[in-house]
Point group: C2
Amino acid sequence: MDTIDRALKEAGASAYVIYASSEDANMFYLTGFKTGDPVFYLKCDGNPATLIVPQMEYERAVSESRCEVMTRGDAGYFEIFEEECDPLRAGAKMVCAQAGGDLLVPGTFPLALAREMESFCNIYVDKTTVKNMRALKNPHEIKAIKSVQRAAEGAMDIAVSMIKKAEPRGSVLYYDSEPLTSDMVRAEMQCYLLRLGCTAADTIVSCGPETAMPHNKGNGALLMDEPIVIDVFPRSEKTGYHADMTRTFVRGEPSREIEDIYNTVKEAKALGWSFIRPGVSGSEVHQAVLDFFTDAGYESGTGGFMHSLGHGVGLDIHENPALSPSGGELREGHVITVEPGLYYQGIGGVRLEDMGTVTKDGFDCFTKYKEEIRI
Amino acid sequence: MDTIDRALKEAGASAYVIYASSEDANMFYLTGFKTGDPVFYLKCDGNPATLIVPQMEYERAVSESRCEVMTRGDAGYFEIFEEECDPLRAGAKMVCAQAGGDLLVPGTFPLALAREMESFCNIYVDKTTVKNMRALKNPHEIKAIKSVQRAAEGAMDIAVSMIKKAEPRGSVLYYDSEPLTSDMVRAEMQCYLLRLGCTAADTIVSCGPETAMPHNKGNGALLMDEPIVIDVFPRSEKTGYHADMTRTFVRGEPSREIEDIYNTVKEAKALGWSFIRPGVSGSEVHQAVLDFFTDAGYESGTGGFMHSLGHGVGLDIHENPALSPSGGELREGHVITVEPGLYYQGIGGVRLEDMGTVTKDGFDCFTKYKEEIRI
């Protein structure tokens, strides 16, 4: 039986409904349809899934989506709008009429729309079905993710060669006689990725004190002898899949503290890998690395190891499963990152991140990129 | 009185809560904080707004957001998680405890979280407060939007010069001895925008039959004598604001039908502009253009003018107000597009889109870009 149909049966609902743009990974996963504006996905028990779209999107949805398609006009929207005079309520009523029974919706379903629908039927929340479907990658998805990973590594090469080519003047790195900034490195990485059909908003190129904040994007000139954290997570515009990788470099000579941290983080990553196999929980893997850091003298709190060890990667950059205190069981076909990091105000931060898939008996790492602090 | 406090008073709620990443425009608007993962925004009546973030984001939120900041650890999350063993429920309980009363949330609030919170307090839905705040732009926002519009026009110049430089071989345009494709034009436009600090995913460069679908992104080689629709809507990575513009071109000689459509769409845009002023409703402006098309012999249905005349532009590419059948009253400071289009299977489509602000007595157009079908 279809997984969605099974969830409907368990919930006692007639139809699964999503209302979202394709920025919502559940929507894109189930439909293959790219849309900047929200549309309705409706899957009635035992029937094929249907998209309900504005007239202007009809032809495109027919040719680009994997669903049956109807216009909202054909679904009776305009007659209902005449009565209700409110687009949200009219949409709710239209979908409830099409569904003809109680609805199951994902946890991200918008509350305002759910409240309108509750005048017509019961709404049940599904927290896991589509998320769990998405977490298990099939060979096509793995191929798509690996292809983005190759692009990410090419972008990392761009960054490394810019930093290598730069010349120090005092503590600042200069490139073609101007200071080499985070923005310059980011722009070249992104242009490279664009030409491969990938976008990479918010690439992190942080340096020095910024590296103590894991998600500081980085600003201004890159410096000699300071850690430079580069975290790039491109997405294929065509397939929608992401990759995710991080390296930390120093141009010149790292401080003793940063070099020790680097070596410890590198060991932690290998340790994390070694724990990954089906049946182990994400929380155990996370805890093993946390314990390793503590034993090595790196206590966690306001500094130290202050994020999860890793996360699933797919249509969302962060999805199930989690390698975190609440992470559940790992299964073959999960695609996850392993990204230990240590961060200290006044010293800086180091993060190393690889990505791969859980195999029958371990972890197949997709990331093939050198790990050397000095460049 | 603060607008949010007024909404709280009217709803009888103690606190306004949002749970979202900064992809949610309400979140970014109220906090100025960029985050890929969802965090809690909490505004208790009469108090300053607070962000509740994971430890790893604390320093960054303090330095980058406009809010008070507390870690979820300080908000008691981990003790609650010990009891509840479910991250969603623990987050719900933590925020309800901090709020100390009933909550007002935006319409996009995730249903699963709302259901958890409903065990602790009442949840009221706010459909309009933050959306309406966002629709009215202050001078800083208008400056930010105009600056992105200049970048969009530069990107349009890139596209035009590539198409002009290309040479026809039969019906196909060639560029540096290879067919000039949508992807090549899009990539160059996007690289140009990136260097100006803007991203522009999903830029439309469609040609020939594709142009009959308003949101067909375009694939493959560009053709002589066929309409080429270029719709670019970049966003500043720094400010988060968008611009939006569309032009339609023909390299070579347009068909008689396409040229007639072009001239009619151009007239429709001028007509739309002429109706815009404070106090007029978006639906009236839309209807005026629809009537004009009908009178000119361009009926709408499965083809013709099959989308709204325009939309607000800001942190979201589509936001309030709408120039559509359900569009409400226009006010001074609204920033809107005017984008009539006509689309026919077998003939093609034409869309022209400008953007500007509603002024005291009319419309100040930000778009300064030529309108010529032949290039």
